[in-house]
């Protein structure tokens, strides 16, 4: 049997990291409502049990029907509240944030935000109960004119915001790495074509490609405008020296490990 999707546009390889529901405190109004509705039921039941034989049949039937109607209405209200509360879900995957909002039976909204579009994440815990019970809002600021995402009244907002930031960093890192890979592949393809045009053997072209790829200077220049891998210390040092000596731009610039680089052509 096919695995059920958590939201309609979920990709097959997409990993769900967080599935968050609102804090149970949001459901408490329905619990109070149930208690209030059960008070007359308890009263009528006690009265019926105590005076069962003395009450005329008509009145007894009336009281039983009223009690049953109140009880069934209580269940219906609880079902409605449970659907509103429990089907409101926030999902965080490795690719996007999803806000599924259920309002009543016939009003369901699903909005999504690509995790790469996240610009700023902040957690807010305001109020007595929020602080006491560890719940609050997470505000996710987006790039562009898109409406900001707000995860309201969720438990442990600080750890949720941290996880979103981590996933955003991972997602952007993956994107940068894949762009370097794509650039490398394109360059290798071009090199192969040129080498073949010059009449070189495949082995010779591969040897040359290996030399180019391991040369720190080449790696730096291939990574034009994108992320320089943190592990490539040699490349960073070479680049920093070049920048200091003004070989490329004449401007002084110390490139730190993991820093984004905009190397002019």
């Amino acid at each position: 049997m096919a695995e059920k999707k958590y939201f309609p546009s979920q990709a097959p390889e997409e990993k769900i990291f967080l599935l968050i529901r609102k804090h149970w405190f949001n459901y408490i109004i329905f619990i109070f409502l149930a208690v209030l509705m059960l008070v007359p039921v308890i009263g009528i039941t006690v009265y019926l049990v105590a005076n069962g034989n003395q009450i005329p049949a008509n009145n007894a039937v009336f009281l039983v029907i009223v009690t049953a109607i109140i009880l069934l209405s209580t269940f219906a209200v609880e079902l409605f509240g449970f659907i509103n509360y429990y089907l409101d879900v926030y999902i965080v995957t490795d690719q996007r944030l999803v806000d599924i909002s259920q309002n009543g039976f016939f009003n369901r909204h699903i909005s999504e935000l690509q995790i790469r579009q996240v610009q700023d994440v902040s957690a807010h815990v305001d109020g007595f109960f929020d602080t006491l019970l560890h719940f609050g809002d997470v505000h996710i600021q987006t790039a562009g004119e898109r409406e900001n995402f707000i995860f309201t009244s969720i438990p442990h907002p600080y750890s949720v915001s941290k996880q979103i930031v981590d996933l955003h960093e991972n997602a952007t890192e993956d994107e940068d790495t894949s762009s370097i890979k794509k650039y490398d592949e394109d360059q290798l393809e071009k090199g192969l074509e040129k080498g073949l045009e010059k009449g070189l053997e495949i082995e010779q072209i591969e040897e040359k490609a290996k030399e180019l790829l391991t040369d720190p200077k080449t790696v730096i220049h291939q990574a034009r405008g994108v992320y320089i891998p943190k592990s490539n210390k040699a490349a960073i040092e070479t680049f920093s020296k070049e920048m200091k000596s003004g070989a490329n731009t004449g401007q002084e610039h110390e490139l730190k490990e993991g820093e984004e680089s905009k190397i002019p052509k």
Binding site: K4, N58, A60, V64, I65, L72, A76, F80, Y86, L87
Partner: protein, 68 residues
């Protein structure tokens, strides 16, 4: 009030309640996830509702005819 009228009103209420419940349970089944609380909630709701309806009819029957 006449017992017949009372029972008719109650019957109509139960029909409305059943429609409401079917819609609600449909939503829980449709949008719930595997392993969450939707299935236990459906079970509990159905059991309690059936229990109340059955007991109410038993008591009504007893009040009218005096026997079970």
């Amino acid at each position: 009030m006449n017992i017949g009228v009372l029972i008719t009103i109650y019957g109509l209420f139960i029909i409305a309640f059943a429609i409401f419940s079917i819609v609600g349970i449909y939503h829980l089944r449709r949008f719930g996830y595997a392993g969450d609380l939707t299935k236990p909630a459906i079970l509990l709701y159905s059991l309690l509702s059936l229990l109340v309806i059955v007991i109410s009819f038993v008591v009504i029957f007893y009040e009218i005819y005096g026997v079970l």
